[in-house]
Structures are given as structure tokens and as C-alpha cells.
């Protein structure tokens, strides 16, 4: 059987990829979003080489210097400096590392956990399903930010706690989605055929069912990624996330808040970059949904 399917496999995969790309690139917004996110990722990776200054360096002779287009601005600090004389552009560039990597970890953790629990619930049904769905209902009963705040308070504020807290808050969405798709697929012919051929529980769950449930999960992952960026920034803003002097976007906003009357740039740019990043990821998510999920056609 392997001998028959091997030559055809790359062709089908390439065909699938091509048809995915055709649908995805049909949306201009999705393309723009993807290019923007790719650029932010490259900037984050190359931060030490791209940033004009050390993000922690405090220039005492240049406190709250305005951006370059102001009369008092200079090319030395293109987007100006904050209250202790740190270069805002460099801090934003380094901040991209924190926002993107923490959010990526959040998505990985909650997706892996959610897929596992969702597969168990959808595959075994019965009491396993009841317990898992009830626990997820409890998580959903609390406003997400409040629960995350509480978890961070328990784990003591910091990068790891913020990551875990937001992953927990995102978990139910992955569980519900996986469970629903598994239930939908479970009684299809190919699954029954596989079971009759002698496949065990693990093989049925992970090899047979999971690949066929991935499309909505990938869409959810992009949504979670943008939500995670917002939540990390919100926690940082409330002083419960990444701690200063780490150049995290939300924490930068919190620090700049006192000076918003005199130094709009210290408040404007960190927020603008959060908004743009989240917006572009959401644009990309819309495109992915149209391309991957024919049921959720563009409306």
C-alpha cells in the first residue's frame, strides 16, 4: 500500500498547498498581514543588530526628547526617548521579542493542552467528556483578564507567570473546538475503516482524527496569538506581567502614563505597535479562515 501511495503523496500535498495559497493570497489584507508579521519577526530576531541603541541605556542628557520631526528632536533618537533617557525605538524593537515569543509560547501551550483534552473528551465521551467540559465551563465563567490577573498574583508577577496564566485562560477555546471537530469526524467512514483495520486508541486519536480536525484549530491559533499579545500587554500595563526595566510594550505604556501630558510619543508608539501587530495578525487570521475552512466562507 505504501508503494502505491508514495509517488502520489507529494503531488497531493503540493496540490493542497497550491490551492490553499490560491485562496489565501486572494485576500489582499491577509497578504499584507502576513508580510507585516514576517517583518516584525525578522526585526525581533535581528534586534541586537537593528536597534540603534541598547534598550536599557539611559542617556541622562536626553530625557523625554521628542521624535525627529519635532524641532527639538534629533536623528540620534528617531522616536524620542522616555523619562529616563532610553531610546523608544530600540525598546520597541527589543519589545517585539518579548511580545512575539511569549505569545507564541502561550499559543503552543494552550493549543497542545487543548488538543489533548479535546481529543480525550470527544473520543471517549462519557464521564471523561463531562468532567473536561465542566472544568472548562468554570474557566469560562470568569472574565479572562480577571482570572489571568489572579493566576499571576498566585505565581508572583513575571514573564513565566503571565505566560502560564494567559495559556490557561485560552485553553477552553481549543478544548471546545477540538472536541466538536472530533465528534463530527468520529463516525466518518475513514475512521471506522481505520478502527476495523485494527488501529488502537492512540493511533485513531492522533494519526487518524487529529489531522482532519486541524483546519479550525489553525484559525483559532492565529486568533489566540493576537489575543495573547493584547493580554500580555494588558498584564504588563497593570504591572502584573513582564517587570520593568524589560522593554515589554504594555509595561512601556504603563511607565509612560505619568508623562502623557508632556510626552505623547512615549505613550503613542508602544500602543500603536501593539495595535498594528494585533490588527495584522487578525487580517491574516481572516485570510486563513477563508482558505482553510470552506464552511466559514467569507461573508
Amino acid at each position: 500500500m505504501a508503494a502505491i501511495s508514495t509517488p502520489a503523496a507529494p503531488g497531493t500535498f503540493r496540490y493542497q498547498l497550491a490551492s490553499f495559497w490560491k485562496d489565501f493570497s486572494a485576500s489582499r489584507g491577509a497578504l499584507v498581514g502576513m508580510i507585516f508579521i514576517a517583518c516584525v519577526m525578522i526585526v525581533a530576531l535581528l534586534a541586537p543588530w537593528m536597534a540603534p541603541h541598547d534598550p536599557a541605556m539611559q542617556d541622562r542628557s536626553a530625557l523625554l526628547v521628542p521624535p525627529v520631526w519635532h524641532a527639538e528632536g534629533s536623528w540620534r533618537y528617531i522616536l524620542g526617548t522616555d523619562a529616563v533617557g532610553r531610546d523608544i525605538l530600540s525598546r520597541l524593537i527589543f519589545g517585539a521579542r518579548y511580545s512575539l515569543s511569549i505569545s507564541a509560547m502561550v499559543v503552543l501551550i494552550s493549543m497542545a493542552g487543548g488538543i489533548f483534552l479535546g481529543l480525550l473528551a470527544g473520543y471517549f465521551r462519557g464521564w471523561v467528556e463531562t468532567v473536561i467540559t465542566r472544568v472548562m465551563d468554570v474557566v469560562l465563567a470568569f472574565p479572562s483578564l480577571l482570572l489571568a490577573l489572579g493566576l499571576v498574583a498566585i505565581l508572583s508577577p513575571g514573564l513565566t507567570s503571565a505566560m502560564i496564566a494567559i495559556a490557561v485562560v485560552q485553553l477552553p477555546y481549543f478544548v471546545r473546538l477540538t472536541r466538536a471537530s472530533v465528534i463530527g469526524e468520529k463516525n466518518r467512514e475513514y475512521v471506522i475503516a481505520s478502527r476495523l483495520a485494527g488501529a488502537g486508541h492512540l493511533r485513531l486519536m492522533f494519526n487518524t482524527l487529529l489531522p482532519n480536525c486541524m483546519a479550525p484549530l489553525i484559525v483559532q491559533a492565529t486568533l489566540s496569538f493576537s489575543t495573547a499579545i493584547l493580554d500580555i500587554a494588558a498584564l504588563g500595563f497593570l504591572g502584573m506581567g513582564v517587570q520593568p526595566p524589560t522593554p515589554e510594550w504594555g509595561a512601556m505604556l504603563a511607565n509612560a502614563r505619568e508623562f502623557m501630558g508632556s510626552a505623547y510619543w512615549a505613550v503613542t508608539f508602544p500602543g500603536l505597535i501593539i495595535l498594528l501587530t494585533v490588527l495584522m495578525i487578525n487580517l491574516m487570521g481572516d485570510g486563513l479562515r477563508d482558505a482553510l475552512d470552506p464552511k466559514m466562507k467569507r461573508s
Binding site: V138, R257, V267
Partner: protein, 334 residues
């Protein structure tokens, strides 16, 4: 219909027990000893410490403490705040109207703008107006609202000086609380200037809190309108020669509203989460700010009680949404 409601209610019971367990465990896991925190810098003798522990019941087995907590909850007693020493239930409900008032104005803002925007986008599908509305709502949907709040303060309060920066009403006025809603209480007191001051204080926070719901409502209205506009009964209505306005407002919108109502209901949980950020930015004296303060002060009973009450509210609202959905869409009941 009654059976549908009862089944939904029964399903809530295990979730509610789960919520109480989480709220109870939550607080026991927080680092820091509440008694030492209360004592502050002065410190405590070991005897006094033991006495206080016994007084607050922290020395008993956890399961007993949980049982007492549950018993108290069923009697509407959630203990006293460690900081103010007054009842947690009173503390919560004295601040709740502030959050509720803010949320109602935010939701009203979201619906009044979001609904027509969604309808217009659907009617003008593919035109510039549609793209503009879709673009703006996606931006709103992606908005970090804490930043949005700061921007609005910088522009409207700072540059233009139109709106106040924080609080619910100007210090010039003292209004006896009757309903807890500042806008209603000022009117009851017959103080027109105070009413205007209260409205002034509400505008920016309501816009900030309403931005994401607005975007969600506009997107949902647009997509369900598009779906409904393709239905046979809309074509029939047009074929009957009804005016375009009547077809859209009566035949299409009424059916499109079914899914929009659900989405509006689901915003309530989001509003409470958003209230935490909005109230922090505008120093709005509601439950969001109260919870943040309670968490940072390790005020055990307040955090515990607040979590239970908030989760309970979210669950009740979700139940009402489910029931409302059952009423307007009978198919779902079976």
C-alpha cells in the same frame, strides 16, 4: 419552554460549585500571609498572631473553611474585608452600580453605532463604504483598550480640555446615592448641572469600554445580514414589490438580529474584563478597580467573594442569553 430553562439551570449547578472551589482555592494559594499583611510594619507577638488566626478561622482544616464559605454564601454572607472590615457583599454592591452604569452606556454606544454600521456595510457590500466599515471594525476589534483610553484622554481631556480625566462626577457636587447610578441620582436630586457633569465623566470611559463590543456587533450584524439577504423569503418580499427599506428593516434585519442578540449577550463577560482596564485608566470607582486593589492588598475575603459574585453574574447573563435565544429562535429549544 419551562423545561428548557430548568435544564439550563440544572447545568449551571456543577459549574457554580466549580467556581466556588476555584475562588476558594485561589485565595489560599496567594503568596503572603493575610494576618501579617494586616499587621503591617508593626509586627505581631506569636500569641496575638494565633488569636487573630483563630478569629478569622484560618487555623481550621481547609475543608471546614470551605464548608463555612459555602454556608455563608447561601446565606448571602461572604465575610468581611480584611482592609475595611465591612461586609464583602456590601462592598461589592456599593460599587457594582458604577460598573453597571458604565457598562450600560458602553453597550448602548456599541449597539447604537455598531448595528446600523453593520446593516449599511451589508447593503453596500463590496463598495468603499463597506470596506471602510469593515476596516474600522477590524481595527476596533484589535484595539488595546488601555492605550485607546490614554489616547482619548490625551486628545479630549488634554489638548481640547473637553472632558474630565477621572472619577464619576465633579467634586463640586455631592449627590445622595439612591440608585447608585450617578445619572439617575442627579436627576432625582433635580440637579441639572450635576447630571451634565456625570454625563461628561461617562463619555470617554463608555467609548473606551464600548469599542471592542462595537466592532464585534458591527462584524456580526454585517455577516448575518449578508446571510439573510440571500434567503428565499427576502427574494419573495422583494418580488411582492415591497420597498427596499421595508425588505431590509422588517424582513431581513429581524431575522439577522437572532444571532446579533446572542453576540450582544456574550459581550457582558467581555465588558466585565474590559471594565478592569477601563476603570483603572479612568479611576472609575467600580468593581474592576476594587478587584485589582483587593488582589494587590491580598484582601482574601474580598477577592474570593468578588470572584464568586462576578462569575455568578456572568453565568446568569449567559443563561438569560440562552433563554432569549430560545424565545426568538424556537428551533434551538429542541
Amino acid at each position: 419552554m419551562l423545561k428548557f430553562v430548568l435544564v439550563k439551570l440544572a447545568q449551571l449547578v456543577p459549574t457554580f460549585i466549580g467556581v466556588t472551589i476555584v475562588a476558594f482555592a485561589f485565595i489560599r494559594l496567594l503568596p503572603g500571609d493575610p494576618i501579617l499583611l494586616m499587621a503591617g510594619e508593626r509586627g505581631l507577638t506569636p500569641e496575638r498572631y494565633a488569636k487573630l488566626q483563630a478569629e478569622y478561622g484560618f487555623d481550621r482544616p481547609l475543608i471546614v473553611q470551605y464548608w463555612d464559605f459555602l454556608k455563608g454564601l447561601l446565606h448571602g454572607d461572604l465575610g468581611n474585608s480584611l482592609v475595611t472590615h465591612s461586609s464583602v457583599v456590601n462592598e461589592f454592591f456599593s460599587r457594582f452600580p458604577a460598573t453597571l452604569e458604565l457598562s450600560i452606556f458602553a453597550l448602548a454606544f456599541a449597539v447604537i453605532i455598531g448595528l446600523p454600521a453593520g446593516v449599511i456595510a451589508a447593503i453596500r457590500r463590496g463598495r468603499t463604504l463597506d470596506h471602510t466599515i469593515v476596516g474600522i471594525s477590524l481595527t476596533g476589534y484589535s484595539m488595546p483598550i488601555f492605550w485607546w483610553g490614554l489616547l482619548l484622554i490625551m486628545f479630549f481631556s488634554g489638548t481640547l480640555g473637553w472632558t474630565p480625566v477621572s472619577g464619576r462626577i465633579s467634586f463640586m457636587y455631592f449627590i445622595q446615592p439612591v440608585t447608585g447610578f450617578m445619572t439617575i441620582d442627579t436627576l432625582l436630586a433635580g440637579n441639572w448641572d450635576a447630571f451634565l457633569s456625570a454625563l461628561h465623566h461617562l463619555i470617554l470611559p463608555a467609548i473606551v469600554l464600548g469599542t471592542i463590543p462595537l466592532a464585534v456587533i458591527a462584524r456580526q450584524t454585517r455577516s448575518s445580514m449578508l446571510e439573510v439577504l440571500g434567503e428565499d423569503y427576502v427574494r419573495t418580499a422583494r418580488a411582492k414589490g415591497l420597498s427596499n427599506f421595508r425588505v431590509i428593516m422588517v424582513h431581513a434585519l429581524r431575522n439577522a438580529l437572532i444571532s446579533v442578540v446572542t453576540v450582544i449577550g456574550l459581550q457582558v463577560g467581555l465588558l466585565l474584563a474590559g471594565a478592569i482596564l477601563t476603570e483603572t485608566i479612568f479611576s472609575w470607582p467600580g468593581i474592576g478597580k476594587w478587584m485589582i486593589d483587593a488582589i494587590s492588598r491580598r484582601d482574601y475575603p474580598s477577592v474570593q467573594g468578588g470572584l464568586v459574585l462576578i462569575a455568578f453574574l456572568v453565568m446568569i447573563v449567559n443563561l438569560l442569553v440562552d433563554v432569549a435565544y430560545g424565545v426568538i429562535n424556537p428551533r434551538i429549544r429542541h
